[in-house]
């Protein structure tokens, strides 16, 4: 036996109260599910209200002609069911009668508008307009973040004003949270002021934001790539003849990274609030230095490409990066990034993670060095590899293991494979 509440339903968005015009049942009478229990009158419609449950009318809380606020409990039904049905679930759908115009100044009644709202309701029950979702997407605000923004629009929806304010506050929080030391501004002494161009501004904003979002830690390792170097020596002129461009080391490193990511998928992920998003695709971003900046085109689905395929993609993307012919979707969607601090001869670097990824791997310069093998000194081609990763989800142990796997794949390179 359970008691089911009957509430005054909200017959339309703007309706705040309803009047009980007639009770169809008395206390103690039986009533079936969906059988009319009462009739109400509101600003817009008069409507018969069905009972949410079958049973006996236990209480009628207000007399006829009484006006009560919507969602007020107006009656109680005693059912036979052991599990009570929450009254809130069973609100009747808005009547399809044409609402009566209140006064001359009200424009044409539009019942269609209410139907549209029902259809677009999200899981949480809050309506997000196309514009708000558009802004959320552009600003990288996830759905879960959006749900937390308080709304001042109709029915507490997040309006354009609300989301723009949120973005503004977020931005100023970030800039104010960044320790400035002294007030930013021109230092004393003679200076030359250069205005940043668009790319520089974008890089600056992204780097600062990334440092703020991720808990950057780094690990460094070294790998003996003598086999790789020998392999490349052997094949490079044939390759250049056949493909029309030079074979660099980058495709080899990408190939090894792809295999290592398959072994350690957490390095190929993103963080969204308190969720870890494991990315199913492996899209490797390749940092390319430009005249006055840098850009990171993405080799999409690197896991479905063989070495020559990766080499072609890298070559094509870097060329077009330098000639500014990249398409927007070629610099988006990366899941892991490789960068090359060694290109100018340096040993290793401390790269900044490319959001929304969680790791970035830097390859140093490949140099011949004396190393100890079996207690003897040998000259080997060695390379330092440094990886910055996000300690929110990748702990030192995992980062270290991943790097070691990369080293393994590099040092066990099969020099007999076909290119």
């Amino acid at each position: 036996m359970a008691i089911v509440d009957v509430i005054m339903p909200q017959m339309g968005e703007s309706i705040a109260e309803g009047t009980i015009t007639k009770w169809y049942k008395k206390v103690g009478e039986k009533i079936g599910k969906d059988e009319t229990l009462l009739e109400i009158s509101t600003d817009k419609v008069d409507s018969e209200i069905p009972s949410p449950a079958a049973g006996i009318v236990a209480e009628l809380l207000f007399p006829e002609q009484k006006t009560v606020d919507v969602h007020t409990i107006i009656a109680r039904i005693q059912t036979d069911a052991s599990i009570p049905v929450p009254a809130g679930e069973r609100s009747p759908s808005p009547s399809t009668q044409d609402p009566k115009p209140k006064s001359i100044s009200v424009p044409l009644p539009t019942p269609q508008q209410e139907v549209v709202h029902d259809v677009i309701q999200r899981e949480s029950g809050r309506f997000y307009s196309p514009l708000v979702l558009n802004i959320a997407r552009t600003e990288g605000i996830s759905m879960s973040e959006l749900e937390k923004i308080s709304g001042t629009g109709a029915n507490n929806r997040v309006s354009k004003k609300d989301i723009l304010e949120y973005v503004q506050n977020r931005r100023s929080e970030r800039t104010s949270a960044i320790p400035q030391g002294t007030k930013p501004g021109t230092p004393s002494g003679p200076v030359e002021v250069i205005k940043m161009d668009t790319m520089r501004k974008a890089i600056a904003e992204h780097m600062v934001r990334s440092v703020h979002i991720s808990a950057h830690v780094g690990s460094v390792t070294e790998a003996d790539v003598s086999k790789l170097v020998a392999f490349r020596e052997r094949h490079k002129s044939n390759f250049e003849k056949k493909e029309g461009f030079k074979l660099t080391f980058t495709p080899f490193f990408i190939d090894v990274i792809v295999r290592s990511l398959k072994d350690f998928p957490l390095l190929n992920a993103s963080v969204d609030g308190d969720s870890i998003i494991l990315r199913k695709e492996i899209n490797i971003g390749v940092a390319v230095a430009l005249e006055n900046g840098l850009i990171v085109p993405v080799v999409k689905h690197a896991d479905s490409k063989n070495l020559p395929g990766i080499a072609r993609a890298v070559n094509d993307l870097s060329n077009r990066a330098r000639t500014k012919k990249l398409m927007p979707d070629e610099v988006q969607g990366g899941t892991f990034t490789i960068t090359n601090p060694g290109i100018f001869g340096n040993l290793f670097g401390f790269p900044i993670i490319n959001q929304p990824q969680v790791a970035i791997l830097g390859v140093g310069a490949i140099k011949k060095r004396p190393v100890v093998i079996d207690d003897a000194i040998a000259i080997r081609s060695m390379v330092y590899i440094s990886m910055s990763y996000d300690h929110r989800i990748i702990d030192g142990a995992l980062g270290g293991k991943f790097l070691q796997r990369v080293v393994q794949y590099l040092e066990n390179f099969d020099t007999n494979q076909a290119l």
Binding site: V106, P107, V116, S159, K160
Partner: protein, 325 residues
């Protein structure tokens, strides 16, 4: 700059074009001897002579057919339909001949049809119509609807110089009620270009004709009382529509109210709403609202006519609903 009435601006524009180009001539009912039902062409017959100011028979089909024929042989007729409501008697001439001749024969039809239109003057169903929607739908016709004296003079000149048939909707309620600054001498308003009559950030009102003035009053009121910033876009040209201006405004504000005096169902507001929904969907922060006359013939009774027509209060109510969304 002189301050003149809307109807004076139209007369001046006509006069100047007739002086400028001898192939321009006028035809219509009561336009010569009588000077026009609203006195728009008073004094023209005396000055330009009966070859260029022609009092026609009471037959819109003949007026529009003759104008079409004259335009085809290279003259520049400006036909007046005494009340826009009567244009239906010449509907066939306009939509089958004037509108399609260039498409069929590759010959320009440089005619203008002046259509005193609009309600609010207790004229009843046959003297109050806004018939633009029928012709909006006919490819081959241009449509303009000025709301101010400046636009009225500029657009009548542009219409006369346009090689296409141009329907010129002059709102009769504005004739002597609206005054404005108008430069002396020659200037045109480009057909196909709207005008932001009032800049704003929160809501766009797209409108034309007499409703522009109601929209401006409504915008003032909600700014003063509610702090809501409303942008009023005067279309000026109905065909071609200044789509870029409309979409640009909606992308800025995110909310759109379309208001016109024509009946709401099938009025051109629906086309504008569809355009915006298709091309600026992701910029919409609220459903698109429309205001138009209620779907009945124009009532004769003043109280009913007031209930029937859009007005400042209805626009204010719609703006407030949009602002609260």
């Amino acid at each position: 700059m002189a301050v003149i009435t809307y109807i004076e601006a139209i007369s001046n524009g006509l006069w100047e074009e007739m002086e400028r180009d001898s192939s321009v001539f006028l035809l219509g009912e009561d336009i010569g001897e009588y000077g026009g039902a609203f006195k728009a062409t008073k004094g023209f017959l005396n000055h330009f002579g009966s070859d260029r100011v022609i009092d026609t028979v009471l037959a819109e089909s003949a007026i529009l057919g003759a104008a079409t024929g004259a335009a085809i042989v290279g003259m520049k007729p400006v036909a007046e339909i005494q009340f826009a409501d009567f244009v239906t008697s010449g509907f066939n001439q306009l939509v089958n001949n004037s509108a399609t001749t260039h498409y069929r024969w590759n010959i320009p039809v440089p005619m203008v049809v002046r259509l005193p239109s609009g309600a609010g003057i207790h004229g009843g169903p046959f003297h109050s119509r806004n018939p633009e929607a029928w012709f909006f739908h006919q490819p081959g016709l241009k449509l303009v609807a000025p709301s101010t004296p400046y636009d009225a003079k500029g657009l009548i000149k542009a219409a006369i110089r346009d090689p296409n048939p141009v329907l010129y909707f002059e709102h009769k309620r504005l004739y002597r009620h609206i005054k404005g600054e108008v430069p002396e001498g020659d200037y045109t308003v480009e057909i196909g270009k709207g005008d932001i009559k009032r800049e704003g950030n929160d809501i766009s009102v797209v409108t034309y004709g007499a409703t522009v003035h109601q929209a401006l009053e409504a915008a003032e009121l909600v700014e003063k009382e509610d702090g809501v910033s409303v942008e009023v876009l005067d279309l000026r040209s109905l065909m071609p529509l200044d789509k870029e201006l409309i979409l640009g405004s909606v992308r800025k504000t995110g909310k759109l109210l379309i208001a016109h005096e024509d009946n709401i169902t099938g009025g051109i507001g629906g086309e504008i709403a569809a355009l915006v929904a298709e091309f600026a969907f992701e910029n919409l922060d609220a459903p698109i609202k429309r205001i138009g006359a209620i779907d009945t013939p124009t009532p004769y009774s003043p109280t009913l006519e007031e209930y029937f027509l859009p007005n400042k209060n209805k626009i204010v109510a719609a703006l407030r609903e949009l602002a609260a969304f």
